[in-house]
Structure formats: structure tokens, C-alpha cells
Amino acid sequence: MESVTKWLELWRDGDAEAMDRVAALVYQDLRRLAAYHLRSESDAGNLQATALVHEVYLKLPSLKSIDWKGKPHFISVVTKMMRRILVDHARARKAAKRDPAMLGEIPMIGEHKQVDTLAVDQALERMTEHHPRCAQVVELRFFGDMDFQEIAEILNLSLATVERDWRFSRAWLRKSMAGSHR
């Protein structure tokens, strides 16, 4: 993490390339963390999942010493990475399901349907063109596992605005995903 700190400092000092280096380093870390969290116990699933993102921040203590202006940017970068990891993971799982030789018959635990991560990802891509800020809110909420208050802070919006954005986005995405994706 030391080298991450160094790159973050460079980045703060105006070295754009540094951000890419940070991203590469953090990405490795995120993958590792995600690996742990994705095999969490079911009763703790929610907490574990949320812990992941928090842990990323905890593991970057240098963030505290970094200029606050850079922090939202950094978090949004981390969230984008999270999104990439989760989408990859969902894709891999889907592939495994199609190949019975790999994992055999997979019994689902519980009957509740789950949203298809890949479908949300694609719908979100379309939404970015029309409602970029809303797409950001969704990204932070759905892939970054942030609550509204945190999102408001990161995007420098009022809590009410974030909640309105969310309601609109949810309707927009639900409409966009109607039919085949559920």
C-alpha cells in the first residue's frame, strides 16, 4: 500500500498518469478482497458485502492524508473497478452454470429471484448516455454498496437530490430491463 500512497500523492500533485498506476494497484487488491467476500456466509452476506468497500477504504489509510478534493474522484474510480470485478464474476458464474461438467447441477438456496448483474450493467451503460448523474448514483449504490448519505457526500449533492435520482433511476432501469432480463 505504500506505493499506492506515493502514486496518490503524485496524482494529487497533478500527475495524471499516476491515477492509472493507483488504479492498477488497487484493482489487484480489490480482486483479492472480492474473492473473500464472495464466499461469505449467507446470514452475513449483506454485511460482508458492504464490508468489502469499506475495507478498501480502510486499507488505504493514506486516503485520510490525501487532499479531500481528490477523494470522491478516487472513490468513484474504485467503484468502477468494483463494477468491473463484479460483472466479470457474474459472467464467469454464468459460464460455469452453462457447463454442467464443471460444477454439476447447482441447487439455489432460497426461492427469491435475484437481479441479473449483467443486465443491470448493460442497462446502466445505456442510462449513462441520457442521465449521467443518475447513472453515477446507481453505480455507487449498486456496485459500490454505498448508502444515500455517502453518495450525497461523494457527489456533493443534497440527500434529497440523491434520493430523487435513485427513485427515477430505479424506474428507468426497471423499464429498460422489462422482459428478458428478469
Partner: protein, 914 residues
């Protein structure tokens, strides 16, 4: 169609009640039918999304839940077991009930299959090592790890005791357990955790899901240490630094340090147990609503004081509140020192005894923690220690790689100084310090190779001094490793020489002085008396230079006084090996007394000054006794005892003060004994022995306590004998000898400890003789002579020589009691030779003169038994002359006065018949 307008209208219309929406759409959209259609669809989607709880869970949650579904392995074999039933989905994969393939009866085990996804090779390798440790945990309340291995596909599995049971909360509700019954259940859980801690295993993931209560009410803990197996990733250098223990931890039961990603210790388990107990008693979480968002729960764990348990269940007000909240303190050091202590407090509460947790205001300083916690479990402390060791190791490795020298230095410094200081006065801390020393030496040796600034050189000097003191400075609590201490002190002294070449500022002079005085201490305690003096003089010279520059420097005054005192010990310290120059010794002590008296006027309330003052007074009074200055001695010793008693009352947890209290009581008792006031002497000596025994029990590895107790037991024995309780006296002499032998055995390099054994044997000899066992007395006296009289080759050590003489007198007494006057006279004659040499070399030393007189009187008695009345008369007369000199110098003790009277009587009987 403008997206902005769409958005604006959606926000407005979605706020309206359903029946008002249509009207709003018509008036707002007018003829824009596409916009209106879009809005209608969005409103429909909004309604569906709400119904479906669409996007209520985040992607990672969804995938985590999906991840629960693994392949079913029912029917497969793992090791010698066949999987028969899926019983759960654990953190690592699936858990199956399984039965032995080859067994005639079906005994179930639980088999954990680790999941393939994302398991790195590092983790699998580490898993194998940890498995061995976990398999060794054998406790009725811990689900046993029976076996483990690797399946054909390379994935590890664990075979564990199969436990059928329910969660504790559920069990309590179902059986409607009372508060007391719940506490009893919880104490069983504690006993399992305590056992694991003693075996160096931290659970790290204590929570109700990991505790099952079987149908007969026995709690069983699952997954001990598994969290560590999973969270350790040895491939990463900083893994140990950050301990990603919260990875698998259910946050609700995590300690603040786990939430912050800080190192996990036994105190973290204590915290989690606290949460479990809180929930068992109140059926609520200490942090309120469990549905709070995670970041709030995390923040609450770190910052929020939990509600008192009694705010849910009023009956818990008082001790239970205090006990639970003590376990839930934010700072690990403020919690119970061990699970055992936690459990003990619950028992005390149950029995209606006062609990430890009561009435302690939050104390945030480690030093205060030390004072408050009287008992620390060595195992727990060692764990803490190994954690620090790990920190040093890892940081060193990183620092070498990154050349980040200052950070290591800082870490090393704070570990060695702050931490070692904090635990120095804690009973039972010796093993911890031993471990600290080992780690500290490793990095110091590395660090000193790269020392290139005066500042760093100074730190290295300080560090070696500290290590040496912990290893074996007899003036402080130590590990009894004299040889190791000597080596460290030597390194400190050479580093100090290097330092003085480049830096002569007061801090550098002070560090160097410390190094030299420590070196002096070590020379002294290893018997190299001639080398000790120059080292002390060097330290004193440097200290005086500092004092000339800054006379107000209180630390320097104290160090100067202390060095002068040690030099006094070296020249003529009573009860210590010394150079036999009592007059010089007295002068050094008086010099020290003057300096510390000035400091005391300057800082009247300062405890450190008070301590140095009573130590000086104690040494001075002993020297005064040696010089026969009984009035001065009685005054100084009385002053010293009063001072120690005061400091001890003010700081009841300070073990060093306790040692001094024992010391002062013992010396005061000895003074009373010398004045033949055995009754009062017994009171003081029993008190001293009691204090030392308690200290020794709390910290069995501590040499100072054992040595002190050995000496005091012998004094106590003599007092008992003086009071006519002969057989009780023998018992205490025997205990004294046992303690001395054990000490010498553990530290064979120490001449002092070896001499102690000889003295204890000699005193036992006297006791046996008084009890009528002459043969036993002879044996012990000869044993004593073997040790004490070997030192004749070292003429610089008059104290051991004097003891050699005394052991010869004891042997002679035994021979005489067995009517072997010839051998008695041979022994007495040798004793008299030694004593006369000693006394003539140091004529002002009252003790040596007293020895001489006693050996002369003894020899006279032997000669009289042989029938040589003339020679006997001469010697009695010489003895009486010596006692008379002592009387004139006001140095005659009550016992000697008594002996003198006896001799006069014997002489009268031997008077030539007219």
C-alpha cells in the same frame, strides 16, 4: 423530448398520490403525447420496482448469496468418511455430516469442504500449518478438529467433531433460562476461549453462529482459529500489520480494533464475548437496532458507548452492567486482561463478592492499566508479545526493502521503551519481557550495523542498556540471564565509546553514563569486582559533568545518586559481595544521601526522588550498622522504612516498591533480631516474607523475588529460633535453601546466587544443630564450605570469605556436638585465620571484627574440650578484647554482647586453679 424535462416531471408526479397523477400528467404534458407515454411507463415501472424491491440489494450481496450454491458432494468420500448430508454453508464452502466408511457403527463427523472459488495457493499452504495447531485443541467445550487433508482436486478439507445443537440465544429462550443460568452457560463458553488463549489460539470470529448448545446444555465452540487460517496471506508483507481479520468477521461481534483493521489479540475475543454476553442477557445488540446501515454499526462499535445492559433489563443494574461494559471497552488494554478474569468476575458477581469491574473510571494510560490489573495471564501476554514480535519482523523486512529506516526506529523505540516500561511493574510480566528481549536483540544487532548519526547511536546505546537490564541486572526485576545481560551491556558500553567520540552533549553523556553504570552492575553481579569500580567511576564522572552544566536536572541527580550508591555497594555493601572497604562505602552512601536530599527539597512530592531516597537510606543504614554506628543506623533505617511504607501505600500496584517494602521490613526485623528482640523481629520478617512470596507467585520467573524470599526466610528462621521455636525455624531454613538452589540452577553464571546457596546451607546447619540433629548439621556445613570456601582463590571478595569462615565455625560446632573435638578445632582454627585476615584488612568493619571474635571464642571452646585450657583462656581473652573494641565504638550488637558475656563466663570457669 428533453430528458431534463422528463426527469423534472417524473420527480413532481411521483410525489403525488396515485389518483392525482393523471390530472397532473394531462395539465403538464398538454399535447406532448410521447412525453406523457414515457412518464406513464416510468410510473408503472416505479410501482413494479417498489413491489419487487428492485435493486434493493447491491451486486456484491446478490453474488455473495448466489455464491452459497455449490455443488452437492453427497455420497462422495473424503478421507475415510462418506458425506451423507449437507448441514450448512460455511464461510469456506459447504459443511456435510459424514460417517466413517470402515466403522461398524455410525459415528458422525462434520466435514468442511473448502470451496474452489478464489482460493489461492498461499492460503492452502498456510492452512496446512495452522491445521496442526488447531488439531491440538482438546477441550470439552470446543468442537474438536479431528483431521484434515487435501482432496484429489487439491482443495483442502477439515474433519471436525459433529455437534448437534442450537444457538445460545435460542437455547436460552427455549428453556427459559434465568439470568444466573445464562451466566453459568456463558462461563462455560469462557472456559473454552481461555483454554484456547493459553494454547496461543485466538478465535477471531466469536459469535452466536459459532457457538452451539447441545441437548444436554453443553456449549460447543466451532471454527476456532479458522478465521486466521483464512485471513492470513503470507504472500503479502503487510498481512500481519493490517490483519484483515474483519474479512470473515460478522461485524456486529467485531471489536473496534478489528473494524479498524488493527491487529487482533486475545482482547478482541474478550470484546466479542462481551457482545455475546450482552445479547444473551438483554436479547438486544449493544449498538441498538441491528438493521442500521453497516457504516453506522461500524462507527458505533468504534465510537459509541453501548447502552447499559440494565437499560433493557433493570435487574442487571450494578455488577453485571459493569462486567459487561468492561469487556466492551473500546481500548483493548482497558478490557479484562484475560478471559479467565472476565469469567472470574462473573463468578464473584454470582457469589456476591466485589467484582473487579466495579468503580473503575476509564483510564486511558497504559501505565494506569498496569497499576490496576494485578494479575495478567502469561499466555495472553505472550500472545500480545508474539504479535509485537511479528510487527517488528514484518516492519523490518519492509524497511530493509524500502530503506525506511526511521519508521523501524520509531516502532522499535516505542515497543522497547513505552511498552516495556508499561509492563515492567506488572506482576507476571517476566515471560513477556523475555520475548521482547529476544526480538529486540535481533533488530538491534541489525540496526547498529547501519548507525551513522549521533542520534541513532544514542538510541542504540539506550536500547542495549534496556535489554541488558531486562536480561539480568540484579538491581532490577530481571530474567536471571546474567551472561546474556553481560553481553548486551558490553555492546552498550562499546556503542557508548563510539558515541562519545562524536557527541558530548548532555543527552549523549547521560546515555553513555547509563551504559557504563549498567556495565558496572553486570561486572559486579558476575563477581568481577575489580572491573566494576572503574565502570561506575566512569558513569559518575559523566553524571557530574552533566550536573555542573545543569544542576536542576532531576533525572541526572537521581542517576548520580544511584551510581554512587552502587559504588558504595561495591566497596562495602552489607549482605553483598564487596571489596571490603566499609569506610569508603559509607562515604559514597553519604555522598548519595546529600545529593538525593537536595533533590528531595527541590521536588518534595516526586515519587522517583522518594524512591531513590529510601534506597539510599537503606544502604546507608546497613553500612552504618557495619561501622557500628547503631544510633545513626536505627535512625536512617527507621526513616527508610517509613518512606517505603508511604510510597507503597500510595502505589499499591508497583511491584518494585513492594520489593523495597520487603527489603526494609526485613532489615528492620534483622536489626531487632540483632538486638535480641525476636518477638518484634518475627512480625517484620513474616511481613517481608509474605510480600515476597506473593510477588513470586504472580511472577515465578522473577529472580529478585525468589532471592529476596530465600534471604528473608532464613532471617525469619533465625528469629523463630531466637524465640525458642526451633523446629519451625528448621522448616524456614529448608525453604530458604530450596529457593536459593533453584535460583542458582537457573542462572549458573551468577556468583552471587552460588554464594546464596552456601549461606542458606550454613544457616540450615545452625538450625539443625539447635534442633539436636548434629549429623545433619555437619553435612550441611560441609556442603556450605564446598561452595563458600572455593572462593579463597578470589581474595577480593571478603564477604564470601567471611561466609566461608562462618561455615567452618558451623562445621566445628557440629563436630563438637558429636564429641569430635579434634576435628572441631581444625575447623575453628581455619575459621579464625580467615576472620583475623579479614578484620585486619578492614579494621573498621564491625561485622568482620564480630566474626573474628566469634571464631576466636569458638576455637577457645574447642581447645577447652580438648583439655588445652591455657590456649583456650588466651583465645577467650582475645575474643573479649575484640568485643570490647566493638563496645567502645558503640558497635556491639545485642547478640554479640550476649556472646561476650558467655565467653567471659567460660573464661572464668577455665581460670587456673590456685
Amino acid at each position: 423530448m428533453s430528458e431534463d424535462r422528463l426527469r423534472e416531471l417524473f420527480d413532481q408526479v411521483s410525489q403525488l398520490a396515485r389518483e392525482e397523477r393523471e390530472q397532473f400528467l394531462i395539465s403538464a404534458c398538454g399535447h406532448e403525447s410521447a412525453l406523457m407515454e414515457e412518464l406513464r411507463e416510468l410510473l408503472a415501472a416505479d410501482a413494479v420496482a417498489t413491489d419487487e424491491k428492485f435493486l434493493q440489494h447491491s451486486a456484491i450481496h446478490i453474488q455473495a448469496v448466489e455464491g452459497q450454491s455449490g455443488e452437492s458432494a453427497i455420497g462422495e468420500t473424503v478421507g475415510n468418511y462418506r458425506l451423507v448430508e449437507l448441514i450448512g454453508q460455511g464461510g469456506m464452502g459447504s459443511v456435510y455430516r459424514a460417517v466413517r466408511i470402515d466403522a461398524e457403527f455410525e459415528m458422525s463427523v462434520a466435514v468442511k469442504l473448502m470451496s474452489a472459488v478464489f482460493l489461492s495457493a498461499d492460503i492452502i499452504a498456510h492452512f496446512r500449518v495452522e491445521r496442526q495447531i488447531l488439531a491440538s485443541l482438546e477441550h470439552p467445550n470446543i468442537a474438536r478438529l479431528l483431521d484434515g487433508g487435501t482432496r484429489a482436486d487439491g482443495l483442502p478439507y477439515l474433519i471436525m467433531e459433529y455437534v448437534e445443537g442450537i444457538a445460545p440465544g435460542e437455547y436460552c429462550r427455549r428453556h427459559n433460562l434465568s439470568i444466573d443460568q445464562r451466566l453459568i452457560l456463558f462461563r462455560q463458553i469462557c472456559s473454552a476461549v481461555h483454554y484456547a488463549h493459553q494454547n496461543m489460539v485466538i478465535h477471531r470470529d466469536l459469535k452466536p453462529a459459532n457457538i452451539l448448545i447441545t441437548s444436554d446444555g453443553t456449549p460447543k465452540l466451532l471454527d476456532f482459529g479458522i478465521a486466521k487460517v483464512l485471513s492470513r496471506d503470507p504472500g503479502r508483507a503487510d498481512a500481519a500489520l493490517t490483519e484483515p481479520g474483519m474479512l470473515k468477521m460478522t461485524v456486529r461481534y467485531s471489536s473496534p480494533e478489528q473494524v479498524r483493521g488493527e491487529p487482533v489479540t486475545t482482547a478482541s475475543d474478550i470484546y466479542s464475548l462481551g457482545v455475546v454476553l450482552y445479547e444473551l442477557l438483554t436479547e438486544h445488540s449493544p449498538y441498538g437496532d441491528t438493521d442500521r446501515p453497516l457504516h453506522q454499526i461500524m462507527a458505533a462499535i468504534c465510537d459509541e458507548e453501548p447502552l447499559r445492559p440494565s437499560s433493557w433489563v433493570p435487574r442487571l443494574k450494578g455488577d453485571v452492567d459493569n462486567i459487561v461494559l468492561r469487556a466492551l471497552r473500546k481500548a483493548p488494554l482497558e478490557r479484562y486482561a484475560s478471559v479467565d478474569q472476565f469469567s472470574e468476575d462473573i463468578l464473584r458477581c454470582h457469589d456476591g463478592r466485589p467484582v473487579h469491574a466495579r468503580g473503575h473510571a476509564p483510564l486511558y494510560l497504559a501505565a494506569k492499566f498496569v497499576r490496576r490489573n494485578r494479575v495478567i495471564v502469561a499466555a495472553a501476554a505472550l500472545l500480545l508479545c508474539s504479535m509485537i514480535g511479528g510487527l517488528i519482523e514484518v516492519t523490518l523486512a519492509r524497511a530493509r526493502a524500502e530503506r525506511r529506516f526511521n519508521q523501524v526506529r520509531q516502532l522499535a523505540h516505542s515497543v522497547l521503551f513505552d511498552y516495556a516500561d508499561a509492563i515492567d511493574r506488572l506482576p507476571g510480566s517476566t515471560p513477556v519481557r523475555a520475548r521482547l528481549v529476544k526480538d529486540a536483540l535481533t533488530y538491534l544487532d541489525n540496526l547498529s550495523k547501519e548507525a551513522d548519526t549521533p542520534q541513532l547511536r544514542r538510541e542504540i546505546v539506550d536500547a542495549y542498556v534496556r535489554v541488558s537490564n531486562v536480561q539480568g541486572n540484579e538491581y532490577q526485576n530481571n530474567l536471571g540471564d546474567t551472561a546474556g545481560a553481560m553481553s548486551s551491556a558490553g555492546k552498550a558500553a562499546s556503542a557508548a565509546e563510539e558515541l562519545l567520540k562524536v557527541d558530548r552533549t548532555p543527552p549523549a553523556l547521560a546515555s553513555a553514563a547509563d551504559a557504563f553504570s549498567t556495565y558496572g552492575d553486570l561486572f559486579y553481579s558476575s563477581g568481577n569486582l575489580s572491573a566494576a569500580g572503574p565502570a561506575y567511576q566512569r558513569a559518575i564522572g559523566l553524571r557530574q559533568k552533566i550536573a555542573a552544566q545543569s544542576p536542576q536536572n532531576i533525572e541526572n541527580s537521581l542517576a548520580l545518586s544511584s551510581s554512587l550508591r552502587h559504588l558504595g555497594d561495591l566497596y562495602g555493601g552489607v549482605g553483598l559481595q564487596n571489596l571490603g572497604k566499609t569506610a569508603e562505602s559509607l562515604a559514597y552512601y553519604q555522598n548519595a544521601k546529600t545529593i538525593v536530599a537536595a533533590a528531595s527539597e527541590q521536588f518534595p512530592g516526586n515519587t522517583e526522588v522518594a524512591k531513590e531516597r529510601y534506597e539510599t537510606l537503606l544502604s546507608l543504614s546497613s553500612a552504618e550498622i557495619g561501622m557500628g554506628k547503631h544510633e545513626e543506623a536505627a535512625r536512617d533505617l527507621g526513616d527508610a522504612l517509613t518512606q517505603v511504607q508511604k510510597v507503597s501505600a500510595a502505589e499499591p500496584g508497583d511491584t518494585n516498591v513492594k520489593v523495597e517494602l520487603a527489603n526494609a521490613e526485613s532489615r528492620y526485623g534483622q536489626m531487632l533480631l540483632d538486638d535480641r528482640d525476636a518477638g518484634r523481629a518475627i512480625q517484620h520478617l513474616a511481613l517481608a516474607a509474605g510480600v515476597l512470596e506473593k510477588l513470586g507467585e504472580a511472577d515465578p520467573g522473577n529472580a529478585v523475588y525468589r532471592r529476596g524470599q530465600s534471604i528473608v526466610e532464613a532471617q525469619w528462621a533465625a528469629a523463630l529460633r531466637g524465640a525458642g521455636q526451633t523446629s519451625a525455624g528448621v522448616t524456614h531454613n529448608e525453604l530458604s535453601l530450596r529457593l536459593a538452589v533453584a535460583l542458582s540452577h537457573d542462572a549458573p553464571a551468577s556468583a552471587q546466587y552460588r554464594t546464596d546457596v552456601g549461606i542458606a546451607e550454613r544457616k540450615l546447619s545452625e538450625a539443625l544443630l539447635a534442633a539436636g540433629d548434629a549429623a545433619g548439621a555437619l553435612h550441611q556445613a560441609e556442603q556450605a564450605g564446598l561452595i563458600l570456601c572455593q572462593s579463597e582463590q578470589h581474595p577480593t571478595d571478603p564477604y564470601t570469605l567471611a561466609n566461608c569462615g562462618r561455615s567452618l565455625v558451623s562445621a566445628g560446632n557440629a563436630h563438637l556436638a558429636m564429641h569430635d573435638a579434634d576435628r572441631a578445632v581444625i575447623a575453628y582454627r581455619k575459621a579464625e585465620e580467615i576472620a583475623s585476615q579479614r578484620s585486619q584488612a578492614d579494621p573498621q568493619n564491625a561485622i568482620f571484627r564480630s566474626d573474628w571474635a566469634r571464631s576466636q571464642a569458638a576455637l577457645a571452646g574447642g581447645l577447652a574440650a580438648l583439655g588445652d585450657s591455657r590456649a583456650a583462656r588466651d583465645l577467650y581473652q582475645q575474643a573479649l578484647n575484640n568485643w570490647s573494641i566493638l563496645r567502645q565504638a558503640k558497635s556491639l550488637t545485642g547478640q554479640d554482647a550476649h556472646r561476650s558475656d558467655d565467653s567471659a563466663l567460660a573464661l572464668a570457669k577455665l581460670a587456673p586453679k590456685p
